[in-house]
Amino acid sequence: MKGWVKKTHCFNGLTLLAVALLAGCAFSGGGRSIDDPTSSLVFGYMDMEEAPTSMDYVKLQQVAPRSEAGYWDMGTDDGIMYNQYVPPGSFKVAHFGGSSFLMGEHRYSFPTYGRNATAVTIEVPGIYFIGAYAYQEVDTGFFEADKFSIEPTENPSEKELLNTLLTMDWVEGTQWESRIKNRLAELQ
């Protein structure tokens, strides 16, 4: 699945500051309680080694049921993307982005219509692994927009990522502590 890259700034101190504040931040769940049993944890991983920037934010598009807002922020931490408040419905990663001092701010977008590899339909609350991927540049013509693709990788595994998620501050003392442990037990 190919997407396209948009460079939005060469350098903008305010933007970098804002991104820094967002990076790895905790986020609310659109008014949903973290212990809402109807919520699902959706998570995945993006290796940005070959990308111009790191991955500082990820937007999860709510495809169905259609809603006015339409997008959910995912938390990011060293390549992991996650949201633990996701209600039943159909979702896919719409775009992600980040910035670096030299390369500026970049946004990596998938087509709005059609499936991509991260597409997931949630009918039953649970823990949904949308995969681990590596960012790759795609050769384009001189006058064409920059493009990228994401290629599936076997590492890190779902189990490794769940073990990392288990150490995050937002997990302790919530329903997710047991739900993640239960999922890890299933993966043994």
Binding site: K2, A69, D73, G114, R115
Partner: protein, 210 residues
């Protein structure tokens, strides 16, 4: 945290977050209403595009300048088989059939075989005021599937069938069918053009997945 993309800020940049405002090229493939519009070397192509599930009434977000794209499939054709572009470009539109969803279309085409490369629906086209940082995401939905259309030298009119695209929740193309509704099309053709021209059945043939 949910994020609304509808809150756009007026910071001076006006963007046509839309289908190529004011610069959609005319297509070489024109609709026809009577036989006098068919020049030598041309053939009438009859067919229909269907989408299932159908579009919901509010699913296309079109500004008043773009109403002509409501319930309309842009069927991109070429006389050569090639991989179509990932995005709907100006160049592709010069050889398009404008196909109202669910209705037979009647267009003139060069009397030579051609291919349907991909079809598109314009889902989001409006002019709005946005911030300089706004990133436009193309709002066109592709309908995948390539088809070959056989045209014989002595053809005056051909029927290519109903191409029915099945979409999933993500607007991915799950399946494409070519349905033979020849008799219904023939009756409509006769009422439009009379009985003097024969409508030959030449159903669209899938050539490969795209």
């Amino acid at each position: 945290m949910k994020h609304s993309t509808n809150r756009l800020f007026s910071l001076g940049a006006i963007v046509a977050a839309a289908l190529m405002a004011g610069c959609v090229p005319p297509s070489a493939i024109k609709p026809v209403d009577n036989l006098s519009q068919i020049d030598n070397g041309k053939v009438i192509v009859v067919g229909k595009i269907e989408l299932t599930p159908e579009l919901e009434p509010d699913e296309q977000v079109l500004g008043s300048s773009y109403e002509e794209y409501r319930n309309l499939a842009l069927v991109i054709t070429d006389t050569e088989l090639r991989q179509p572009a990932d995005q709907l470009g100006i160049g592709a539109l010069t050889r398009r059939i404008n196909a109202p969803l669910g209705d037979n279309f009647f267009v003139s085409h060069e009397a030579q075989p051609f291919f349907i490369l991909r079809s598109w629906l314009v889902m989001n086209a409006e002019i709005k005021v946005v911030s300089p940082n706004y990133v436009h995401v193309p709002g066109n939905a592709p309908l995948l599937g390539m088809f070959g259309i056989d045209v014989q030298p002595d053809d005056r009119a051909i029927y290519i069938g109903t191409i029915r695209y099945h979409r999933d929740t993500f607007f991915g193309t799950e399946k494409v069918e070519v349905i033979d509704n020849y008799q219904q099309a023939k009756n409509e053709f006769a009422s439009k053009f009379g009985e003097q021209v024969q409508l030959r059945k030449s159903l669209a043939m899938p050539v490969m997945n795209n």
